[in-house]
Symmetry: C2
Subunit: 578 residues, 2 copies
C-alpha cells in the first residue's frame, strides 16, 4: 500500500496536470475550452510568423506548436503557460543559422531541429544536476536589456517584409532613402499598413469602445485577441481577390507541407554539426528557460499558484526534444500567448490541449489556405507583438536605482545590437559578476556607539551615540572573505592609527555568517599585530555557524586575552574601564 | 611656505626612505652594514642560480640584483624587503620562454628583458588606476597551492643538474632508472651531495650547536647565512683543483660577462614580440607583486611598520623597468633573502644599498671566479631554499576549515603541475570566484524568535525563544542581489506555505547593506503575492543606505499596509495582536 501511495505521489510529481484535474469541474472546462479556442487562433499566425522570423519554412513553426505544447501541458508546473515558438528564440535561431560555420552543414531546417534537440538535452541535463539556480546569474537588468535589444533587432528584421523590400542597406548620408523608395512594393506596403491598422485598432481603442458599449468581458477578449487571425484572413483575401502575388509580386508564405508532422530521428547524425551548434543551443535553451519561468511566475502569482523551477527544466527540456523529433524549432513559453490564454479564462493546461487539437485540424486540412498569406501581414503581427518588449524607460529607472545595474542593462542592450545576441548576454553577465565582486570587495563597515540608555549600537556617523576613547567598536556588515578582507583590515588600521588611548578593538559579527580561509589567516595576523601595540582584539555577537568553525581551530588561543562576547553591551560593560 | 611644505610631503611620499632616515643613528647604521654584507653574500649565488633556473646566462640574474634592488630601496615602503631575482618568477620566466611562439622571436635574454619591462609597465599602470585591490582575488589558498606547485616544478627542474644528467625521461615501467643511472655523472652527484650536506648542516644543526656553545646571536646568523657562499667556494675550489670540468665533464656556469650592466633601450622594438609575451608578463608581474607585498607585510608587522600597497606597485613597477633597462630579468621581493636581511638586523633600506654596492664590486672584479662554479652546487642552493615553500600539510588544515578553499588549493596545485603555471593560477582564481558566487547564492537566513524578557531575537533552531503564530520573523544575513534572491524567496515561501494563521511577515534587514535592482523588483512582487493571501510584508532594522535607496522609489507605497520598524521589538509589539 505504502509503495502504491509512493508511486502515485511520484506520478503526481512528474505530471503536475494530474493534481490539477483532481477537482476539475464544468466551470473549469468551460473556461479551458474558450481559452483554448482563442489561443489556437493566435497560435497559427504566430507559428508561421516566428518560423519566418527564424528564416525557416512555415511548417517548422506550426509543428513546434503541436507536440511541444502538448508535452508541456502534461509535464509543466504552470497551469497557463503557452509553450511554442517565441519571437526571442526565433531571432536567436536566425542568428545561429546565419553563421558561416553552421551554413556549411546541411539545410537551415536540419540545423534548427538540431538546435531544438540540443537545447532540450541541455535543459534535461541541468534538471539532472539541479542547476536551475545557475540561471539566477542572468540578472533582471541583463534580461531586460537583452529583451529590448532583441526586440529592436526583430523589428529591424521585419521592416523589409513590411515595405516589400529585399534588403535596406543604408549609408551614413541617408542615401538609402532614395534606393529604398524605389525598391518599395506599394501593394505590400498597403497590406502591411492595413494589417498594422487592424492590429492597433483591435487593441486598446476597440476594447475601450466595447467596454463603453457594455459588451461582456469574455466577448471583448475573444474579439480583441482574434485580431491577428482577422489580419491574416483579410490580407489573404485581398491577395487572392486581386492576384497580388502573381501580378504585383507581393511576397507570400508559399506552399506549406500539409498534414501532421512525422516523427523522425534522422537529425542525430553529424557530431561536428552538433558541436558547431552547441554554443547557440545553450544560449537559446537558457534564455528560453529563464523567460518561460519568468512568465509562468507572473500568471502563477496572480492566482496564488507556485512554479517548480526544476520541474520546468524537465518540462521545457522534454518539450524541446519533442519539437526536434517532430520537425519543429526551439520552443519556450510565449508572453503574449500566455497572457491571452490566462485572460481568456484558462484554468488548467486542458486549454492548451484543446488549442493543440484545433491546430492539428488546421494543419491537416487548411494548409492550402495558408499558402497565400502575405508576409507583410505576418510582419505586422510580429511588430505589434514585439514592440511592448522594448523597455527603454526602464533603463532610466534602473540607472537611478543602481548605477551598476543600469550599466549592465545598457551594456547588454548595446552589446546585443552591436556585437550580437549571444555576445551581448555574455557581456552583460560578465559585467554583472564583476560589479558584484567589486561591490562585495567594498563591504559596509561602521564604527558604532551606544544609543544612550539602551542596548542598541548604531553607526556613529548617522546617530547620536555614546563612545569611549579606549574602545573601538566596529560592525562588519558582510561575510568576510578574500574579496573584502584587505578593505576591512585597512579600515581597522585607519580607525586605530592615531588613537593612542586605544586599548580594545571589538569586532561585531552580527552580520558575519562565514569567514573564508584567507580572511581567517588575516584575522590571526591582525590579532598579533594589534597585540604588539598592546591592543586586544575582541569579538561580539558571533553567530553559531561562525563560532563552530572557529572552535575547530586554535583561533581562540591566539585571541587571548581578547574575548568573545555574546552581546556588544557586555563587551562595553567589561572593557570600557579596563 | 605652504607649497614648499607640500612639495616636501610629496617627496616623502614618493621616496619613503627619506622619512626612514630622519632619525637615523649609529646603531641603525651598524645593523644595516652587517645585514647588507650578509645579504650580499646570499645575493650572488641566488642571482646566478635563479638565472640558471630561468634558463638564462648568469649575468642576467646578477644585473637584476643591482639596479632594481637600489630602485626599490629608494621607492619601496618596506624597510627590509630584498628585491631581486626570485625562484617563483624564475620558473615562470622559464615556462614563458619555452613557448614555441616566444622562441620564434629573438634570444631568450631579449625575451626575458621584455618580460621584465612589460611587467614593470603593468604594475605602474595598476598603480595609476589604483588597481592594487585586484590582486585580492588571488585568495590565500590559491597562492599557497600555486607556490607549492611551482616549488615542486622547480625541484624537478633541478634534479638533472644535481645528478649531472642532461634530462631524465621516464616511461611508466620505470625504464628510466636504467638509463638514468648510466647517464649520471658521479662527480657532479658527489659535488651536489657535498653542497646539500653543507647547506643542511649549516641550517638548524649548526645553529643549535652554536647556541649551545653560547656563541653570540649575530655571529650565529652570519655563519649560518653564509652557507650558500661557502658551498659555492668549496665546490668551485674542488672543480678547480681536480679540473672536474675538463676531465670529468662536470657542468659549470661558464663565462660571465664582466663589469656593470649597460643601460640599453634596444629591447623596445618588436610589437608582435611584446604582444606574444604580454600574457606571461601579466601573470609574472601580478604574482611578483602579490608575493612581495605578502613578504613585506610579514616583516613590517613584526616591527609595527606599515606597507602601502599602491606605493609597492610603483616601487616594484619601477624596479622591473630598471631591471629591463639594465639587462636583467623580472624581479620581486625574495622570501629567504628578506628574512635573512631582517634577522641579520637590517633597520632600513640602507642595508640593501650596501648589499648592492658589494655586488657591484663582485660583478666588476670577480666574475672570472664565478665561471667555474659547478651547476650542481647552485642546484643544491635552489633545492634548500625552495623546499620550505612546499606546504602540503597546509592543504589538510585548509580543507578541514573550509571545503571550497581546500578544493581551490588542490585544484591550483594540480593545475600548476599538470596544465602549467599560468593555467593553474587562472583555474584556481576561477574556482574561487565560482565557489564564492555559489556561497553567496545560498545566504544565511534564519527564522528568529524573542529571547524571553529581552529585546534580543535569535535563530529559533539554536535558541529557546518565544514565537507567535500570526508572525513570521525572518532575518536575512546578507546583501540581497540577483545571486541570492531566488533562494530567499523560496525560503520565505516554504516558511509561510502551511501556516494558515500567518498574518504578517517581518524581514529583519540588520545585515542588509544593499539591494540590487533584480532583488528590488522581486521584493515588490513578493509584497503583492503576499497581499493576495492577506499577509502583510514588513521590514525592521533597515540600515541608512538601504532606506535612502528605497525612498527614491515607490517601494513604500507598495508596502502599505506593511510598515518599516526601527527595531524588531517594535514590530512584534505592534503586530503580535493584530
Amino acid at each position: 500500500m505504502a509503495s502504491a501511495q509512493n508511486n502515485k505521489m511520484q506520478l503526481n510529481h512528474l505530471f503536475p496536470i494530474i493534481s490539477c484535474l483532481r477537482n476539475y469541474n464544468k466551470q473549469d472546462l468551460n473556461g479551458d475550452i474558450f481559452a483554448g479556442i482563442i489561443t489556437a487562433i493566435l497560435l497559427i499566425p504566430q507559428g508561421i510568423a516566428y518560423a519566418m522570423l527564424a528564416g525557416l519554412p512555415a511548417q517548422v513553426g506550426l509543428y513546434a506548436s503541436i507536440f511541444p505544447a502538448a508535452i508541456y501541458a502534461l509535464l509543466g508546473s504552470s497551469r497557463t503557460l503557452s509553450v511554442g515558438p517565441v519571437s526571442i528564440a526565433a531571432i536567436m535561431i536566425a542568428s545561429a543559422l546565419s553563421a558561416p560555420e553552421v551554413i556549411a552543414f546541411g539545410s537551415p531546417v536540419e540545423n534548427a531541429i538540431i538546435l531544438a534537440a540540443e537545447g532540450g538535452l541541455i535543459l534535461l541535463l541541468m534538471a539532472l544536476l539541479r542547476m536551475g539556480g545557475l540561471v539566477n546569474f542572468i540578472s533582471h537588468p541583463v534580461l531586460t536589456g537583452f529583451t529590448s535589444g532583441a526586440a529592436i533587432l526583430i523589428i529591424l528584421s521585419q521592416i523589409s517584409h513590411l515595405f516589400g523590400v529585399a534588403q535596406i542597406q543604408c549609408t551614413i548620408d541617408f542615401a538609402c532613402y532614395n534606393n529604398a523608395f524605389q525598391l518599395i512594393n506599394t501593394y505590400t506596403l498597403g497590406l502591411g499598413f492595413i494589417s498594422l491598422f487592424i492590429l492597433i485598432f483591435f487593441g486598446s481603442p476597440l476594447t475601450t469602445l466595447l467596454k463603453y458599449l457594455k459588451v461582456k468581458q469574455t466577448l471583448i477578449t475573444a474579439i480583441s485577441k482574434s485580431a491577428p487571425l482577422l489580419v491574416i484572413i483579410v490580407s489573404t483575401a485581398l491577395v487572392t481577390m486581386y492576384q497580388l502575388s502573381e501580378l504585383q509580386s507581393v511576397a507570400i508564405v508559399g506552399a506549406i507541407q500539409s498534414g501532421l508532422p512525422d516523427i523522425s530521428f534522422s537529425f542525430i547524425s553529424n557530431f561536428e554539426q552538433w558541436k558547431a551548434l552547441l554554443p547557440s543551443a545553450s544560449f537559446i535553451a537558457i534564455i528560453a528557460y529563464v523567460e518561460s519561468v519568468a512568465i509562468a511566475k507572473v500568471t502563477a502569482n496572480l492566482r496564488n499558484q507556485t512554479i517548480n523551477p526544476n520541474q520546468e527544466l524537465v518540462a521545457l527540456g522534454t518539450a524541446n526534444l519533442a519539437s526536434a523529433f517532430s520537425g519543429g524549432m526551439s520552443v519556450a513559453g510565449g508572453f503574449s500567448r500566455t497572457m491571452v490564454n490566462y485572460s481568456a479564462g484558462a484554468r488548467t493546461q486542458i486549454s492548451m490541449l484543446i488549442a493543440v487539437a484545433l491546430l492539428c485540424i488546421a494543419v491537416s486540412f487548411f494548409t492550402d489556405q495558408f499558402t497565400l498569406i502575405p508576409k507583410a501581414a505576418l510582419a505586422a503581427v510580429i511588430l505589434v507583438a514585439i514592440t511592448p518588449l522594448i523597455k527603454l524607460k526602464g533603463i532610466i529607472t534602473t540607472w537611478k536605482y543602481d548605477k551598476a545595474d543600469g550599466m549592465a542593462e545598457v551594456v547588454t542592450l548595446i552589446g546585443v545590437l552591436v556585437l550580437g545576441i549571444e555576445e551581448g548576454i555574455a557581456f552583460g553577465v560578465l559585467i554583472t559578476i564583476l560589479c558584484y565582486l567589486r561591490r562585495t570587495s567594498h563591504p559596509h563597515i561602521a564604527v558604532v556607539g551606544r544609543i544612550r540608555h539602551s542596548e542598541h549600537f548604531r553607526n556613529i556617523k548617522r546617530h547620536q551615540v555614546e563612545t569611549w576613547n579606549n574602545l573601538l567598536l566596529i560592525r562588519i556588515d558582510e561575510n568576510i572573505s578574500f574579496a573584502n578582507i584587505s578593505y576591512i583590515l585597512n579600515f581597522i588600521e585607519e580607525e586605530s592609527f592615531n588613537n593612542t588611548e586605544l586599548k580594545h578593538v571589538v569586532l561585531i559579527f552580527s552580520s558575519v555568517s562565514h569567514i573564508d580561509r584567507t580572511a581567517f589567516e588575516a584575522l590571526e595576523n591582525l590579532i598579533h599585530s594589534l597585540k604588539s601595540k598592546s591592543i586586544s582584539l575582541n569579538l561580539a555577537e558571533v553567530k553559531g555557524p561562525v563560532m563552530d568553525k572557529l572552535q575547530q581551530t586554535d583561533f581562540f588561543k591566539h585571541l587571548t586575552p581578547g574575548k568573545v562576547f555574546f552581546q556588544t553591551i557586555e563587551a562595553v560593560e567589561q572593557l570600557k574601564n579596563k
